[in-house]
């Protein structure tokens, strides 16, 4: 875990150097575009964490192993933290760019529905005293919530939205300049390492909590 911690710290430093030192000022948006180096990787890490949570939840329902439930719980919690950062940084970017902090377009609405569903997941876990029942119910909710991720991703194609369509996670090659793409990918790697570090630590804390309750 110490190795992962140091790699994360190194990745974050590299990400900041790329975001502010190497990536140029964007021509149309200006420097406010640099917010994208946090906003976009944060939602990718959240998606990955929710997919880990989905796999953990299915594994728990199939095998009833507490380890799978701990991984699912940790991943969903960390994913919620990253999704919260994504929504907040998006609002901060939206004000100078769109002229509003928030608008109820399809992408923003669908992502906030997913965020609320994962908040409900965390509340449900805390609301039920019986460990086994809490794990079972929240596994079902975690699966339902994670199945909404494609809806979030494709919402910009299915409905008319203010939010722009994806620049990278789409068929065909990227239209981004290589230096901006590199900065985005380095930031994504750094935040992915941070997400993995948090999930490992949270799963360990959950194991210790279960030991303490036993």
């Amino acid at each position: 875990m110490t190795v992962l911690g140091w790699l994360t710290a190194l990745g974050l430093v590299a990400g900041l150097v790329m975001d502010f030192g190497i990536a140029p000022r964007e021509m149309t948006q200006g420097n406010v575009q640099r917010i994208m180096y946090v906003h976009v990787p944060a939602v990718w890490v959240a998606y990955l964490a929710f997919i880990v949570g989905l796999i953990g939840s299915i594994a728990y329902l199939a095998r009833r192993r507490p380890g799978a439930d701990r991984i699912a719980h940790a991943a969903c919690e960390v994913g919620t933290v990253f999704l919260g950062v994504n929504i907040a940084t998006g609002a901060i970017w939206g004000k100078p760019t769109w002229g509003t902090w928030w608008t109820w377009d399809a992408r923003l609405t669908s992502v906030s529905v997913v965020f609320v569903m994962f908040l409900a997941y965390l509340l449900l876990r805390g609301a039920i005293d019986d460990e086994e029942r809490a794990a079972r119910y929240s596994a079902v909710l975690g699966i339902v919530a994670a199945l909404n991720i494609p809806l979030v991703h494709f919402s910009v194609y299915w409905w008319r939205t203010l939010h722009q369509p994806p620049s990278l996670l789409k068929p065909g090659s990227s239209t981004m300049p290589p230096v901006i793409l590199t900065a985005l990918l380095v930031s994504f790697a750094a935040l992915a390492l941070l997400g993995a570090y948090f999930i490992v630590r949270r799963a360990r804390v959950l194991a210790l909590e279960q030991e303490a309750l036993a």
């Binding site: 149309t28 406010v32 946090v38 907040a88 948090f198 630590r201 210790l208 030991e211 303490a212």
Partner: protein, 98 residues
């Protein structure tokens, strides 16, 4: 378009605050739980040591009682043992009172 550095600083600052706060909370919780499990293990060890000590005290006492008994069995008697098993010899065999 203006640079809006304050928005950039706000976004990065907010992300940093959230991640640092979450990381610190995880570390604090882990330390608390590790300390709790360590103190539990310590108190369990002390309790088992005490039980061991009491048990060994008891067994030592029993052993010392037994050895006392053995010793008292081996001590030379001032009177010959009674044939009937009575603690005192038969009246006819008692030495005269002095």
């Amino acid at each position: 378009m203006p640079d809006n550095w304050s928005f950039v600083a706000a976004a990065y600052g907010l992300a940093a605050v959230v991640f640092i706060a979450y990381g610190r909370w995880l570390r604090r919780r882990e330390h608390e739980l590790t300390a709790l499990s360590a103190s539990r293990a310590h108190s369990q060890a002390v309790r088992s040591d005490n039980t061991q000590a009491v048990r060994s005290d008891n067994s030592q006492a029993v052993r010392s009682d037994n050895s006392q008994a053995v010793r008292s069995d081996n001590t030379p008697r001032s009177q010959p043992l009674s044939e009937t098993g009575h603690p005192r010899p038969e009246p006819s065999k008692r030495p005269p009172l002095q």
